[in-house]
Assembly symmetry: C2
Homo-oligomer: 441 residues x 2
Amino acid sequence: MIRFDFTNITSESVDSSRLMSQELDSLDIGQLNKFFGMGAQAGLGFFELLDQDISSVEAAAKKAANFSNFILLGIGGSALGPRSILEALSPLHNNFNKPRFFIYDNIDPMTLQKILDAADLKHSIVNVVTKSGSTAETLASFMIIWRKLKELGLNPQEHLVITTDPEKGSLRKIAREHNIMSLSVPPSVGGRFSVLSPVGLLLAGAASFNVKALLEGARQMHAACIQRDLYKNPAYLFAGSLYLMKEKFGRSVTVLVPYADRLKSFSEWFCQLWGESLGKQGTGLSPYPSVGTTDQHSQLQLWMEGPNDKVVVFIALDDYGTDIKIPDDFSDIEGLGYLAGHSLAELIKTEQEASEIALTKNGRPSITIHMPKVDELHMGQLFHFFEAATAAAGFLFGINPFDQPGVEEGKNLTYGIMGKKGFEDRAAEFSAYRKKKRLVI
Amino acid sequence: MIRFDFTNITSESVDSSRLMSQELDSLDIGQLNKFFGMGAQAGLGFFELLDQDISSVEAAAKKAANFSNFILLGIGGSALGPRSILEALSPLHNNFNKPRFFIYDNIDPMTLQKILDAADLKHSIVNVVTKSGSTAETLASFMIIWRKLKELGLNPQEHLVITTDPEKGSLRKIAREHNIMSLSVPPSVGGRFSVLSPVGLLLAGAASFNVKALLEGARQMHAACIQRDLYKNPAYLFAGSLYLMKEKFGRSVTVLVPYADRLKSFSEWFCQLWGESLGKQGTGLSPYPSVGTTDQHSQLQLWMEGPNDKVVVFIALDDYGTDIKIPDDFSDIEGLGYLAGHSLAELIKTEQEASEIALTKNGRPSITIHMPKVDELHMGQLFHFFEAATAAAGFLFGINPFDQPGVEEGKNLTYGIMGKKGFEDRAAEFSAYRKKKRLVI
């Protein structure tokens, strides 16, 4: 089971932290317990994924696994979750395995062209993922792929799986009219909380990962995250610590730094979850996606001596799944001998702990998450933990962690220029903007 | 030539910005001119890369280009620069081209094992890159590769190129003793400013990119960045704006969001440059690595409505190098018709501008960098611009942008545990730390 070490957030060496212990003690979690107790009714629809029926996912995955290529069209939560599962459980996957996965999560024409050059559609299954069924970016690429399939004389029914709302949206309509295989994202589950829904599970199944173990891990973590005692509930203690660090001590940046390359995408998944859920009403916490030891040579300087506005969250790995000894061929060269005889896993674990100690000595707070190994069970635990902690943090900040009102204006302006009916005023705003006197070099 | 639009940092709709114009006007840039005028003497060693002799890089690149695989061992600036060149100029490179590139910038044993499984050393050239010649992570992987070459009966002289200091460090010593082909990083050029030194240029040459055009672009940008008038010098105006946004208006986070997948690694390169150069003495600016439109579905909510502590820097692309039309097969489906007939490039450019307008309307400042296209010339411009701007910002903050004193303590603690002579006290600190009473769930 994943363990959570909060020592360095209450440690005496961190200036704010003696106060932090008191603040934590006086946190009123009665209302938080009530909120979590309401489950889906309070927006916590992802709780209900724990006991979902996965038979339709398994059927679709079985079909998908027979193709050489699996192309996923989706953006935001529809791409970050699946990608983080893939990279965590099968590093450098495409070098060794079929199907190869291509995740197109943008509308950059060069990327789509390159994917189409690399993956012959004849041997590809295309998974179109949009919870709402009307995401402009995803539908644009879907329409392009649909036309290409037709042009190649391929039957869309053979090459498409649609993952979307069970009833609503353009994509559901298309799935029905053209009898396309489809999976449903429960309406109560927000896009950034959907990794353990068919959004992430289809890719997991197609890659032959153990889908049941992912959900089993999430269930195990759920049991911990509904404990009513702050000091027994990792989601509450994590959310409470970071909430207080912002509100009482002005630390508004949450850095996530797993010490494993294969969790880099997980770090990006976390950034959407944390940033988009909590960043509203002028408050919230800003995430930073990192990876260790790499970012010791990029960001550690800033965390140590830059603005004291960060809390660093380490993910330390117990078992790397493999290890390599450092040989002694150069022990005679000054300053190199000390490495020989140790192993890479030893070195990376030492560096993680050293960074933790160095930050603490410098008065900078951190939290360490100890992960036994990166497998389905522990990834399930990790995903569910961060989702529960995000919901709890939203509650503490007094904001709704499940909406994203701030992205509407940009969409409306785009509709204006693209000529969508009803958005003519936004087109006019574009013209006015372009005519503005500009300061350009 | 790349153009820089500062309109939205002085726009009346951004609360602080009427004041911003005055603040910029009163910025004393006389000392900054003096600093830039001193060049390498003042730490600006990267100015001298503009006119370097590239014959040895070309020779090494010619040799490297004949291998099936190019494995780079390096961390921080030794990896971020080369990777950002590769991904910018050859998206999804390994799917189509030889040599395939594998960049190992960590000590995660799983990643190295996977790279060795994917790339047969017999057909690989290994470029070991460390400016100091004594980076623990890089030397650990170098010693492993050296032993593997020996075990396979391969001659290290055939398979290695070392990029390091011309005189100092363990790696230079090894290169000399074993007669390994080597390239020099000028001692006056810091690791994070080394992308246009042999650190980045060897990979560029091996991938058959136009090395001369990279340097030509940098020279063109340099001419702009030594203008003595604030409003003609993009590096000064960029640095001055972001410095003032922090010091006068409390905005300490710089988000870089290129609207092109192939610039995602560039965004990470920027984060090292900006974070490690400026984050010291309790001040500086915290970067965030982003990519558009993808992060409109991940981070835009936070930028629009979260803590008002950010300046968003867009990179807008004029020419995507290719384009794809959105077909009209589903024009009858409600809410989809508006996309048909437009192209992906049209859509992505519109979304970039829409995000810019939406932020401005919401009182959130931004800067837009207009890049004609992603090629060697413009990448050279982009790299040199950010390096010059970072140096200028460091000067304005009154800190040394070329050192990184904050990373020493973590290194020393690692030496302690690994048994390096002279660091026994740090080993004792580890033991004490581990015995501490912990708050763990």
